[in-house]
């Protein structure tokens, strides 16, 4: 499992990640065979929508899963909200997961259940609210008792999920990871794309005339494991996942950066992570939504990175077969790509006539696949909020020249937070000592006072909290993100729901004006990652960008994902992990407490830390972390190295931390600084509670009250986490001497 140390250590698990199972449900039916047969026959899955009325919309077509053709009209006739009759996304996900699981033969493999993880990417979850619960339901159906992680970065969700799954395998958190995504087409989503003017009247024709997209739905999963393990247990490796890259456009809630540089950063990240050069790429499965804005920006980004190769490399859009599968699009298109690699044929872009201006690419026109051997391919995804993800896949016999992985030490340079009643880390610390519960709304925050350049227009409460907390963490570290630093600075958001106030405005517009007059601005911000996207724009965080949701452990999940990326990836120097909750209007289904906490992480001894070297406070290092399945908090604590180097105390969310050091310490209350259950002071702060615990730990370490502390988070059915923080010894001694002198 993951174990960071203060020295750079060669990686223990440097091994390729193999795909041993694939499963899919899409507009082209159920199963990989149905999918490829249709592509082979030049038959797309775009058909008239019968599920809800499309009268008055600019399009009546979509790529819908045929198994749901006979659905009753499952939506409230006034508000278009889901009702009891609304299909459950989990059905679609389970069918796809079952195919992948069966093909990989995990049942017979003897891999322990706790070593099987699930990472699921979804844009709208189960009926627009259940994000981590969707992942948990799929995991429970297969007895995947390892960590269950949910990524929600709009339309790049499942591509990011596959990347994170690769990280979990490489870090030894699991031996098998099922990774993918699922999303259904809801009337609200269809209406939103219509309002944005993004739908074309007929079938979409990416890179060609006429511009506009066609929506879709589906689910897809890959079973991933280390190549060595797959071979050892006699499973057939189908392809390799070589690497991935994430980035933020930092540009606009729904429109892509027209220069394509956001896509370009994710492409470069994926190439470097995979150890590939631009010239190694034989095929690109493009995001290719068909909209004028996307296709032109994507072509520019690809042209910039593949520098001249882009005209040679075939680049097709599977959305011309499947429609835009939203959060599932990334995995659906990677599955098409893997099938293409295995068959030596690349799928066409259907309905391609002549290239649109600005899209001078080889889009594989025509109706049938083209014979073209593919060794390495890229799948490109881009989502609302400017979240880009690119995944590199390759043939099983790919010989790569990847430098040996290093696990680099990570340091924590700043914390910032806004909590109930406008509270800060200090007031929270007092409340925690006195066990005074803090709950309820944050109140008015003057973002202008914290960040003078911020334009508060259209900023919903949770976005304000996220941006304020992130800026306070930067201020705490004395860092301004500027110049070339911006491309290597990123954000990982942890939150459990769609922005509550914004979401409420969206539904109100439907209730008051009808589905056809849905309000476009709130729709463009109606994604889980939208506060991160807005914050990235305001603070110029253009590097790695992600958004996780794991229930009551979410805050720590975001911090650990950020630490993991800094320790093992090359594409960032600075990451802000931000956890956020929002109360929202009455009846809006929000949290009962709210706020945001941000932690600024960087590489120890890296360029960012050098900027802050003259600070008076002792440096805090992130000396270990662990992720384990739900309830397995002791495994997470062991992975964090807490049993080898006992902490002075445990700060806990969820109650599991008290016994997490057994058998060495049966009850954490007997540690010098004891055991502190943080949620006693933070009632109902679902995502932020665990991040507040980290902020409190940092405060105690800086005040030299402790040498090292363990923060734990468990509860819920997603995962358990542990993070070990330590004051850097030399610094602590130096400032102690100064204090005594």
């Amino acid at each position: 499992m993951v174990m960071a140390s203060s020295k750079e250590v060669p990686y223990m698990h440097a091994d390729s990640t193999a795909v041993t199972g694939i499963g899919v449900t899409s507009a082209l039916g159920t199963g990989c065979n149905a999918l490829w047969d249709a592509i082979q026959q030049g038959r797309d899955g775009l058909r008239p929508i019968m599920r809800f009325s499309t009268e008055g919309f600019s399009s009546g077509l979509a790529g819908l899963w045929p198994a749901w053709d006979n659905l009753a009209n499952g939506w409230d006739s006034v508000s278009s909200r889901p009702t009891a009759a609304t299909p459950r996304v989990v059905e679609m996900a389970l069918v796809a997961a079952d195919e992948a699981w069966g093909q990989a033969g995990i049942e017979k493999s003897g891999v322990p259940r706790q070593r099987v993880a699930l990472v699921l990417g979804t844009c709208f979850g189960e009926r627009l609210e259940g994000f981590h619960t969707l992942t948990e339901a799929v995991a429970e159906a297969f007895g995947a008792d390892g960590p269950r992680l949910t990524i929600s970065t709009a339309c790049s969700s499942s591509a990011n999920a596959i990347g994170l799954a690769r990280d979990l395998l490489r870090a030894g958190v699991a031996d098998v990871v099922m990774a993918g995504g699922a999303d259904a087409l809801w009337p609200m989503v269809f209406a939103g794309f219509h309002a944005l003017g993004a739908l074309t009247t007929g079938k979409c024709t990416p890179f060609s005339e006429l511009p506009g997209t066609t929506l879709g739905e589906g689910a897809g999963f890959l079973v991933l494991e280390r190549l060595k393990q797959a071979r050892a247990r006699g499973a057939e490796p189908l392809a390799l996942v070589l690497g991935y890259g994430l980035s933020a456009d930092a540009y606009h809630p729904s429109a892509p950066d027209p220069t394509g540089s956001g896509i370009g950063r994710a492409l470069r990240g994926a190439l470097s992570d995979a150890g590939l050069q631009a010239a190694d790429i034989d095929y690109v499965n493009a995001h290719g939504t068909g909209t004028a804005a996307n296709d032109a920006a994507e072509c520019r980004g690809l042209a910039e990175v593949l520098s001249g190769c882009d005209r040679r490399v075939p680049m097709s859009s599977s959305k011309s077969f499947l429609g835009h599968g939203q959060g599932a699009a990334g995995v659906l298109e990677l599955i098409v790509t893997i099938l293409a690699i295995r068959r030596g044929k690349v799928p066409p872009t259907m309905n391609f006539t002549r290239p649109r201006p600005g899209c001078a690419v080889d889009a594989v026109g025509g109706q049938y696949p083209r014979s073209h051997p593919v060794r390495h391919a890229l799948g490109v995804s881009a989502g609302f909020g400017g979240a880009n993800a690119v995944v590199a896949v390759g043939r099983v016999d790919t010989q790569l020249n990847v430098p040996p992985l290093r696990h680099r030490p990570v340091t924590l340079l700043g914390v910032g937070g806004v909590g109930p009643g406008g509270s800060s880390v200090d007031t929270l610390a007092l409340a925690q000592q006195e066990i005074l519960p803090l709950r309820g709304p944050v109140g008015t925050i003057s973002l202008g006072a914290i960040l003078p350049t911020a334009d508060p227009r259209g900023m919903d409460p949770v976005t304000t909290f996220v941006t304020a907390a992130a800026k306070l963490a930067l201020d705490d570290a004395g860092i301004t993100v500027r110049g070339t630093m911006r491309d290597r600075a990123g954000i990982v958001l942890g939150t459990t729901r769609l922005p509550v106030t914004n979401c409420r405005r969206l539904w109100e517009s439907i209730e008051q004006r009808g589905l056809r007059a849905i309000a476009a601005p709130p729709f463009s911000r109606n994604t889980v990652n939208s506060p991160a996207g807005a914050c990235a724009k305001l603070l110029a965080l253009r590097g790695p960008h992600s958004s996780v949701s794991t229930g009551p452990t979410t805050g720590l999940a975001a911090i650990i994902y950020a630490a993991e990326m800094l320790a093992e990836r090359e594409d960032s120097d600075l990451l802000l992990a931000v956890a956020a909750d929002e109360v929202g209007p009455p009846g809006g289904g929000g949290d009962i407490s709210e706020g945001a906490v941000s932690v600024l992480l960087a590489r120890r001894g890296g360029p960012i830390e050098r900027e802050t070297s003259s600070r008076a406070v002792p440096s805090i290092d992130v000396v270990g972390w662990g992720i384990a399945g739900p309830g397995c908090i002791a495994d997470a604590a062991r992975s964090a190295g807490a049993l080898i180097d006992l902490p002075d105390g445990v700060l806990d969310v969820g109650g599991g931390g008290r016994q997490c050091l057994a058998p060495k310490v049966e009850d954490a209350t007997s540690l010098p600084l004891g055991y502190a259950p943080v949620e006693a002071a933070l009632l109902g702060a679902e995502a932020t509670a665990a991040a507040w615990a980290v902020a409190l730990a940092v405060r105690r370490l800086r005040r030299l009250e402790a040498r090292s502390l363990l923060v734990t988070a468990s509860g819920g059915r997603s995962a358990a986490y542990a993070l070990r923080l330590a004051a850097r010894q030399n610094d602590a001694e130096a400032s102690h001497r100064e204090g005594c002198g």
């Binding site: 944005l196 003017g197 429109a255 508060p456 227009r457 007059a517 309000a519 476009a520």
Partner: protein, 113 residues
């Protein structure tokens, strides 16, 4: 005051059947409704009288974008009954706050004729 308005370009509203004072009053009323609509539908952090009638909506003015554009068009239809028949008319009407007021007044007149 009177002189200023007299020398302004010809307005879409007929002045034959309305006194100038009531026209000015009516226009002010519409302007304020348009300002409130803009604040509500675009979540502007401004008071109504902070929005100058000559403010340009896009670019350096209110800094709106194409997504907001859609919302203004829908709100104009829902709140004021203004329907645009062609893209040119829509573009002209969404140039500035005053241009929106003109469009509302023009639609008003059409429907009362």
């Amino acid at each position: 005051m009177r002189m200023n308005i007299e020398s302004a370009p010809v307005n879409p509203i007929s002045r034959l059947d309305q006194s100038l004072d009531s026209y000015v009053h009516h226009r002010e009323e519409i302007l304020n409704r348009v300002r409130r609509m803009l604040i509500a539908c675009l979540d502007l952090r401004k008071e109504p009288d902070e929005i100058d009638p000559d403010t340009v909506l896009f670019g350096s003015g209110l800094g709106l974008d194409s997504v907001d554009n859609v919302e203004i068009v829908i709100s104009l239809e829902v709140d004021f009954g203004v329907k645009f028949t062609d893209a040119d008319a829509r573009r002209r009407a969404l140039r500035s706050v005053n241009a929106i007021v003109d469009a509302v007044l023009a639609a008003d007149k059409e429907s009362t004729v």
